[in-house]
Symmetry: C2
Subunit: 345 residues, 2 copies
């Protein structure tokens, strides 16, 4: 199942998906393991992160903040990788690094995008709660959402890599937290393990009514990561001066561009006006230079104190990545989705 | 044409409009002039302000920031009024005040909502550039939009009471200003009299293409006061980190709630995300306590220095208010719309 030391399995973008990606939008190929040139290192992928933003990079026209994946090229992605050969004086064989090796067994790097992970008890957390998704939650909630004690924070995908951290940080700041998740087991976990005040199953009907009941004092911060029906339910409940950090819209990523439904833009704008809402988009790539070290110190402390819990959903084998990724877009993962590509030991 | 001293003409809300208000949505009646009780003053309306927000108050369900006008009650509105009788020790007969007397010849007030205007060279400016519309431009542009020198600011309704001030303040801050207005005469005025760098006639086709040509460096601040087709044209041109103060949507006020067009909300949200846009609604009523005095000092100085110009569109006679108001919603006014209800002398 894992690659041998001479071949590099790669999962390529075979076609631009129409809506939800299908099996044939990906193609597995096998190449010789690449050979590092002077200044390069050869990386062996141990863990591959699967994240919703990757869907945006599969379209012909990219989202602007990162170049789209070209047809026939490997899918991109963050990885925990081991350096198995180095011709770069800054690195040596055996080191564990955070890398952007993509959906493949091996990759080359000039070292500029690598971060050393040696000594981490659980290196895969560098792809989740201690990495991009956790950082996304931190910047979006704390810098943009700015929850105050006693305020109500709503977050969807509540047990996902971002949402679970959003909710726990909001609780740490003294806010009341209402999650939305897909399924009773996830909702139970959000309340019992993560400490959310309430969590609603989005698969049941009457989301707006149930959300209104769960937020008797309205909503002060809505961490927007799904769009669609959740946003529909949230908008009428926003309080004066509500903040809406906009992180993504997993519900829209697979929508045809002109789904026939009424135009909801005027109602969104009217809410922004009448409730004096501040809605602010952010792309986490912008914030590493300023905020990442502070985030990492804070999050390591909260983890050590047991005040933040992180759950991973691990999938075995690179060849499982496409199906696992489609499951992520459908909300079938339970926790941060990680593909174990090679044994970490 | 003007009322005598014993009768009070009032323009009442007769019906909730469907779309654009029609003549029969208003009704003129005549009542005896009211008599002030102890603590009250009797106000004679000299100038009545007509403003787009009034359309929102004609609906059965109000916009939230102010109560809707009840059927059979006088339309509300800011006025410049003369105190013609006083049983309030804080006021005396003959004083000129800014009031909320509404669409009628006479009104009573307990004095709590009055502001003395004695000594103002042109009191009607208290309804325009030195009043609510000018203050709306000031707070929205300077506090939320925060234009920096060299940035590009776009504002629609460019010769209107708010837009004209937005553009001139943006120029004062060193920004490049592109207006959008209805008609060649207004566009010429915006450039030649108000100093806009460019102004586009929204009645001509291909607004997006012309706006793109007029904004070769993209758009950093879009002062949102119209919505609709202008917003469609603006969104693809927003720069990274653009700010969108949201003041209103005159283009939507008369739209049926479910006009059959594609859902533009996902595209709006995608732009907010990809361009890291900060979109923030504001209601000017919130800001008087903190910012009005500073605004008034700044604006009086800019007016005295000739750095801001204000244009009024005056209509004679209270009975003309309904038609003038419909014209405002259709963009037929040219400058701040004021109804002269009684001679100021």
């Amino acid at each position: 199942m894992n690659a041998d030391a001479t071949s590099n399995r790669r999962i390529l973008l075979a076609a631009h998906p129409k809506g939800l990606p299908a099996r044939q939008d990906f193609r597995l190929d096998t190449q010789p393991v690449p050979v590092p040139a002077d200044g390069q290192v050869l990386l062996r992928t141990l863990h591959l992160s699967l994240d919703p933003y990757m869907r945006n990079l599969m379209d012909e026209i990219g989202p602007g903040y990162a170049p789209p994946v070209a047809l026939g090229e490997p899918m991109v992605g963050g990885t925990v990788s081991r350096i198995v050969a180095s011709r770069n004086p800054g690195f040596h064989e055996g080191q564990l690094v955070l890398a952007n090796a993509g959906w493949q067994d091996y990759a080359l790097s000039d070292g500029s995008d690598l971060r050393l992970l040696d000594g981490m008890a659980q290196p895969s957390l560098a792809l989740g709660g201690l990495g991009m998704p956790g950082f996304t939650a931190y910047v979006g909630l704390l810098d943009i959402g700015q929850p105050r004690p006693g305020e109500t924070v709503v977050v969807a995908a509540a047990t996902g890599a971002v949402g679970a951290v959003v909710g726990q940080l909001a609780r740490l700041k003294g806010a009341r937290v209402v999650g939305i998740a897909g399924g009773a087991d996830k909702c139970r976990y959000a309340v019992e393990a993560l400490g959310f005040d309430a969590c609603l199953d989005r698969r049941e009907g009457q989301l707006h009514e149930r959300l209104a009941a769960a937020c008797p004092n309205g909503i002060d911060v809505y961490f927007e990561n799904v769009g669609g029906a959740v946003l529909d339910a949230v908008l009428p409940l926003l309080n004066l001066g509500a903040r809406v950090p906009v992180c993504g819209f997993i519900a829209h990523y697979n929508q045809a561009p002109s789904s026939p439904r009424q135009d909801l833009r005027p109602q969104l704008l009217a809410t922004v006006l009448q409730k004096r809402v501040r809605m602010q988009g952010f792309i986490i790539l912008d914030h590493y230079a300023d905020r990442f070290e502070k985030f990492r110190r804070d999050m390591e402390q909260w983890l050590a104190e047991g005040r933040v819990k992180l759950r991973e959903d691990r999938v075995e084998g690179l060849e499982q990545a496409p199906a696992a990724f489609v499951g992520l877009l459908e909300g079938r993962n339970f926790g941060k989705l990680i593909v174990d590509v090679a044994p970490a030991g």
